[in-house]
């Protein structure tokens, strides 16, 4: 069971992306998200999709590491797109300053080329970020990441809590599976067969036992940490700490140059949108 449940968690593989420092990956990831959030320039976005996809491929990430979360994001994306389409059907026309009707739906609701193009941009924005998020999560060793955060000046208490949360997530997932199985055997059906309202009501039969076993675990862990001197000194060193290397610097230079270029390219005409309708 433990083997199946390692969703979106760090897995050691031998690729140059895994070898990068956690800080490099974090800075890359943050700048990447900022650029993606700011620009609506289709050309920039398409380049970013290509780069993101390449990163994900190079990191040798397997579908079973990310599949379930990917599907969930897709559901939200579709909801988002549908909501934009019906809530403000002329958003695209306002942005691009023209109106090219394709067909009439109902009332005063028309499908326009501008709206479709705008929604296309929304969708590809998702796809610039998703692969980068996945690659970041599955290739970053949490302890090394905590160490490098601490190196950047974040307090080690905060840095370590990230590492320790990741350390215990698999244990808690396993507890969850065991508790759910046992409760299901008692007749508390949590599968899709039961009604949604029942499922929500019955979640308590899993949440409470999970909460109690997790609380007692926290108690043991915090005692164990204290007994081995955690929090004793103002500073601490890290076994997993890795200094920045040549590849790290190259990636950092790349992302800074890329971000500057992407923003200049996008805002050169004073608008964040690329307008093919002019």
């Amino acid at each position: 069971m433990a083997v199946n449940s390692r969703l979106l968690s760090y897995e050691h593989k031998d690729t140059w992306i895994h070898d990068l420092s956690g800080v490099t990956k974090l800075i890359f990831f943050l700048l990447w998200c900022i650029v993606s959030a700011l620009t609506y320039d289709t050309r920039v976005l398409l380049i970013m999709i290509a780069v993101s996809a390449a990163i994900l491929l190079m990191s040798k990430t397997k579908w079973n590491q990310i599949g379930a979360v990917f599907k969930l994001i897709m559901v939200f994306m579709i909801l988002n797109v549908v909501a934009i389409f019906f809530m403000s059907p002329y958003q695209g026309c306002q942005i691009y300053g023209s109106r090219t009707e394709i067909s009439h739906l109902f009332g005063n609701c028309y499908v326009t080329k501008e709206q479709l193009f705008y929604l296309f941009n929304v969708v590809i924005k998702y796809f610039t970020i998703i692969p980068a998020v996945f690659a970041f999560m599955v290739t970053t060793d949490p302890s090394e990441f905590a160490a490098s955060l601490n190196g950047l000046g974040v307090s080690y208490g905060i840095s370590y809590s990230i590492a320790i949360a990741l350390r215990y997530i698999p244990d808690i997932q396993e507890d969850f599976h065991r508790i759910r199985n046992a409760q299901e055997a008692r007749g508390i059906e949590m599968s899709a067969k039961a009604k949604l309202s029942d499922r929500i009501k019955r979640t308590s039969s899993i949440i409470f036992p999970l909460l109690f076993s997790t609380m007692s675990r926290i108690d043991v862990v915090s005692n164990a940490m204290e007994l081995r001197g955690f929090g004793k000194k103002k500073k601490r060193t890290w076994y997993a700490f890795r200094p920045l290397r040549r590849n790290d610097w190259m990636v950092l230079v790349f992302i800074v140059v890329f971000s500057v270029w992407a923003l200049v390219f996008t805002f050169r005409d004073g608008s964040r949108f690329y307008n093919p309708f002019l």
């Binding site: 433990a2 007749g187 036992p209 043991v220 007994l227 004793k232 997993a240």
Partner: protein, 577 residues
């Protein structure tokens, strides 16, 4: 020589409790000694340990009087951090103690906190990995390690600090018997390599005595009852009076009516002088009752040629077949990760087999859902905290019926009937939180029994329980087995449980069924105990050393004798209660 640990008229009361947990403790421990502190649950042995590593009073507050000194310092003044340089504590829960994401990081944890520079840290980690034999596992995550390996990581993690005192809090509680034995041997080896004092808190006396200890401190109700050499202690009746189980061979010799003498060195059966007791044991053997284990009932559960793997090519279970007869009590044993839990998950339907069949009352149960199987096969998990979800006992026990839409009146009637069987009727309106661990365990068993299943599967029903609670839980299971005729399958590490309470043992090793035989035969067979990481019972050694022709029969008769004994005890006060 100056003692390294000294308690002088020390008493302690937790802030949340009205009665003190320790009274007038006077104890001196000298450098290099190996001390076993034993006693029933709640006797104060863990509290005593916490006074040594300064968890008391720095983290757990309360009132104390008298003094404690550890290596010349007062723990209260040195604080938890100060004491962590002197005292290395190995906790019972090896999972909780494993803080790092890999073995190497966990070993380095104390050094990291001490801000040791990275190159020196790596060197010391490599060195300590050698001491506890973990060199090849340095980059493994906790999930990839066995219980024994995790225990070695725990030990390495405290040894890396060059501590003077090693404090073990029930180190054997979560380990299979063979791993427990190796742990005790490792403690001994470490003491030879490094100059440390070891304090072991444990109620599994016989397992700790696998290697010599210098003194045994017996505690009861917060006081030290006795503090003496193992050979002397085993000759007295203090252990039995305090509710600590003696080594089985010692009990067996005492049953013969002989008085054991310290000069015969009863600490280990292998090196004990059995000559003076030989005739008495043989005579007792001839006269002891023979145990009757015949069960001619029909099969209730048949497992046929079951195979399972999470990933193709990596089989977890291979061609497992066995049968449970109606009304049997059977144990399933084998080391951690041998496939026992997977097998019970297959029976309950949490997992689907690759091939093979499971028959209940002769019918294939593969079409049944988890819920439908749950009505016939009940699973009780190891810790009650993993099952209890309702605040009130009555609601918790009735939960399985309520969700099946059974009318309220019938639920009430069945819940009350079950509570009576389980001895919980007086508490029916209590909140679950007011119950003891053993009572909570009963609640979880009741919440399964209420559905009237044919089979009860229990995962480690007595893990971490002292002798009294162990007996309480097992006698209760035996009673419901007798009164309701329910078939009981127990997954266990406890060799005593298997020997005393079950008719048959199914032994699993590396995903295959090794044997399916009486516990006495299993526990006296070298090849099987070796393969499945079990531990041979010391009764077998006693029988061999006394020249009894069929050595495994001694274990059988010993259990039959004890059973007859407890029955007599039960019958006397039954009316008067």
């Amino acid at each position: 020589m100056e003692p390294i640990i000294e308690f002088d008229r020390f008493s302690f009361r937790y802030r949340s409790q009205t009665e003190p947990s320790l009274y007038d403790i006077d104890l001196k421990i000298y450098p290099g000694e190996k001390i076993l502190i034993t006693g029933p649950s709640g006797c104060g042995k863990s509290t005593l340990a916490r006074c040594i590593n300064a968890l008391i009073p720095c983290s757990l507050r309360g009132e104390s009087s008298g003094t404690v000194k550890v290596d010349g310092e007062v723990p209260e003044k040195a604080g938890i951090f100060g004491m962590s340089k002197k005292v290395g504590t190995v906790l019972q829960d090896t999972d909780g103690q494993f803080i790092g994401l890999t073995v190497a990081e966990d070993l380095a944890f104390a050094l990291e906190n001490d801000a040791v520079p990275q190159p020196e840290m790596r060197e010391r980690v490599a060195q300590i990995a050698g001491t506890v034999n973990l060199q090849k596992l340095l980059h493994h995550a906790p999930g990839e390690l066995s219980g024994g390996q995790k225990q070695r990581v725990s030990m390495g993690g405290v040894l890396v600090d060059n501590v003077k005192i090693l404090l073990f809090d029930e180190p054997l509680a979560n380990l299979d018997p063979a791993t427990g034995k190796r742990t005790i041997a490792l403690i001994d080896d470490i003491m030879k390599m490094k100059e440390v004092t070891a304090i072991i808190i444990e109620h599994r006396l016989e397992d700790v005595l696998y290697r010599d200890v210098d003194r045994i401190v017996v505690m009861q109700d917060g006081r030290i009852v006795t503090d003496r050499k193992p050979d002397d202690l085993l000759c007295s009746s203090v252990l039995t009076e305090c509710g600590v189980r003696e080594p089985l061979y010692v009990t067996a010799i005492k049953y013969t009516g002989m008085q054991i003498r310290p000069e015969d060195r009863p600490q280990h059966i292998e090196s004990m002088n059995v000559e003076p007791y030989r005739e008495a044991v043989r005579k007792w053997f001839r006269e002891a009752p023979v145990r009757d284990r015949q069960n001619d009932n029909n099969a209730i559960l048949e497992v046929k040629d079951l195979c399972f793997s999470y990933f193709s090519g990596e089989p977890v279970l291979q061609h497992v077949s066995f049968t449970l007869k109606k009304g049997e009590m059977v144990s399933m044993v084998g080391r951690n990760g041998a496939g026992k839990s997977t097998l019970s998950a297959l029976i309950c339907g949490f997992l689907k087999p690759d091939s093979g069949a499971i028959l209940l009352d002769g019918k294939d149960i593969s079409p049944l859902s988890v819920k439908e199987r749950g009505e016939r096969i009940g699973l009780v998990m190891q810790s009650p905290n993993q099952m209890i979800s309702k605040p009130m006992i009555r609601d918790e026990v009735g939960l399985g019926l309520t969700v099946r839409g059974i009318p309220e009146a019938e639920v009430k009637e069945r819940v009350e009937k079950t509570l009576r069987i389980c001895g919980l009727y007086p508490y029916r309106n209590w909140p679950v939180s007011a119950l003891s661990f053993g009572q909570k365990k009963r609640v979880t068993i009741a919440s399964i029994l209420v559905m009237d299943p044919d089979i009860l599967i229990l995962d480690e029903p007595t893990a971490g329980q002292d002798y009294r609670h162990y007996t309480e839980i097992m006698e209760f299971l035996l009673e419901i087995n007798r009164t309701t005729g329910i078939t009981i399958l127990m997954i266990t590490h406890d060799m005593h449980l298997m020997l005393e309470y079950t008719d048959r043992a199914i032994v699993i090793a590396d995903g295959t069924l090794v044997t399916d035989d009486t516990p006495a035969h299993v526990l006296t067979d070298d090849a099987i105990t070796e393969k499945a990481d079990l531990k041979k019972t010391s009764l077998y050694d006693l029988a061999v050393r006394c020249g009894i022709p069929d050595p495994s029969e001694l274990a059988e008769r010993f259990i039959a004798y004890e059973r007859a004994d407890t029955k007599k005890e039960e019958e006397v006060p039954a009316d008067g209660r």
